[in-house]
């Protein structure tokens, strides 16, 4: 009988382990730091984004009107933002600082004002 007890305990602990692992994975997905940014002529909203150094982040970029770009040379990020489509950019900021970003697809008279900054703090 004892052997059955041990086997049962092993099975229960194994199940608990598997359950805990998957829950933690699920939790991690839920904890994904997503920042939604909309682009339209000639602004990003928000245009100031604060991030924590070392914490992974996903930028979800959408355009409300036409093709725009998202270029942040200091963080080596560049993406096209097509209207009607969500563009996801995953990265982990590794350095503190303020990094400017801008639209690098010429989009009209206010194109040169279409910019913002990412502030990475400890």
């Amino acid at each position: 009988m004892k052997i059955f007890k041990y086997i049962s305990l092993i099975i229960i602990f194994s199940m608990l382990f598997v359950l805990t692992y998957h829950t933690s994975q699920l939790f991690a997905v839920e904890q994904e730091n997503v920042i939604k940014i909309t682009a339209k002529k000639f602004e990003y909203s928000p245009n100031v984004i604060k991030l924590k150094k070392g914490v992974p982040v996903v930028l979800e970029l959408t355009s409300l009107d036409r093709l725009h770009g998202f270029n942040c040379p200091g963080l080596s990020i560049r993406a096209d933002i097509n209207p009607g489509k969500v563009t996801r950019v995953k990265f982990t900021p590794v350095n503190r600082g303020t990094f400017s970003f801008f639209c690098d697809i010429f989009c009209g008279e206010g194109h040169e004002d279409m910019n913002g900054k990412i502030i990475v703090e400890d």
Partner: protein, 298 residues
């Protein structure tokens, strides 16, 4: 004149600066004793149609004044090159055509009739140069003058600021016709190198064009876009940016946000102007002389 610190030593070794009556000359390559064989003018970023008086209350008159000054000068350029942003951008295709047409009429007043054009992103970035081509023809081309090879590259018709594979292939084919010891002069609107990407002052695939040009011993690039003088070397290739004729822009990275410099009533037209470029045919000499908008020339 904005010169990278690391380039200053290089520059000091090859150029001589001369200041005469407010004109600034920089001589590259052969010192004071060079003999130049011909000269052309570079005008850039005229932004016809711009109308913000905070940056230029004489927005309708500046280009015309520069043309008058050029016509009154004793300079005898062989040709004039406009390096893009002839007009200020508009989303209205009809207005775009109207501005291009007005610009064309204004520059007809120049006495020198050999005038060459190329687009900037303000002229061509919203319609892939459709209206520009109707008014001025091709956006990239070559020409020869005094046995020198001139190449005009379009890095603005693609709104993503790329030259594009097709044009790069064309460039490669053109360069195959030229001997490596021949002199090559390139005109672009945007800088081919990463001058300051944070302000969109670069060409996404500019390094590919530079790679194609590298085998040539004597290459000089003249460009606009940044509305100020700038000198930069990529290897042995010299890149010279020109002032604009509507509003100046701040030096790369000198202010948090790039924006046209406000008009200074105490120094009207400050930061605006055009330049002459004297070149030797057999020597590798280049002499740049900067002229203000209105000053009488000698």
């Amino acid at each position: 004149m904005n010169i990278d610190r690391r380039d200053f030593i290089k520059l000091a070794g090859v150029c001589t600066a001369v200041l005469v009556s407010g004109q600034e000359s920089l001589v590259f390559g052969a010192g004071d004793k060079m003999k130049n064989d011909f000269m052309f003018l570079q005008l850039s970023d005229t932004h016809w149609g711009f109308n913000n008086p905070k940056n230029n209350p004489d927005y309708a008159g500046t280009l015309k004044k520069a043309i008058k000054a050029i016509n009154n000068t004793q300079l005898h350029p062989d040709f004039i090159m406009f390096t893009g942003d002839l007009t200020h951008t508009t989303e209205d295709p009809q207005r775009r055509r109207k501005l291009l047409s007005e610009f064309k009429d204004i520059v007809k007043e120049l006495k020198i009739k050999d005038i060459k054009f190329m687009p900037g992103e303000h002229d061509a970035g919203l319609d892939n140069a459709q209206a520009y081509k109707e008014a001025f023809g091709e956006t990239h081309y070559t020409f020869r003058h005094k046995d020198l090879n001139f190449i005009v590259l379009d890095n603005v018709s693609d709104p993503a600021s790329s030259i594009g594979d097709e044009q790069l292939k064309w460039l490669g084919a053109q360069l195959k016709k030229i001997k490596h010891d021949s002199r090559v002069i390139v005109f672009t609107h945007r800088p081919l190198f990463d001058l300051y990407p944070q302000w969109d002052w670069f060409t996404r695939d500019g390094s590919k064009a530079i790679d194609l040009l590298m085998p040539f011993k004597n290459v000089t690039v003249f460009y606009g876009h940044i509305h100020q003088e700038n000198y930069h070397m990529t290897g042995h290739i010299a890149h010279h940016a020109a002032k604009g004729l509507m509003y100046p822009l701040p030096a790369p990275g000198s202010v948090p946000k790039k924006a046209p410099v406000e008009w200074d009533p105490a120094s009207p037209y400050k930061g605006l102007g055009y330049r002459s470029i004297e070149m030797g045919i057999k020597t590798a000499s280049v002499k740049l002389t900067e002229y203000p908008v209105m000053e009488m020339q000698t």
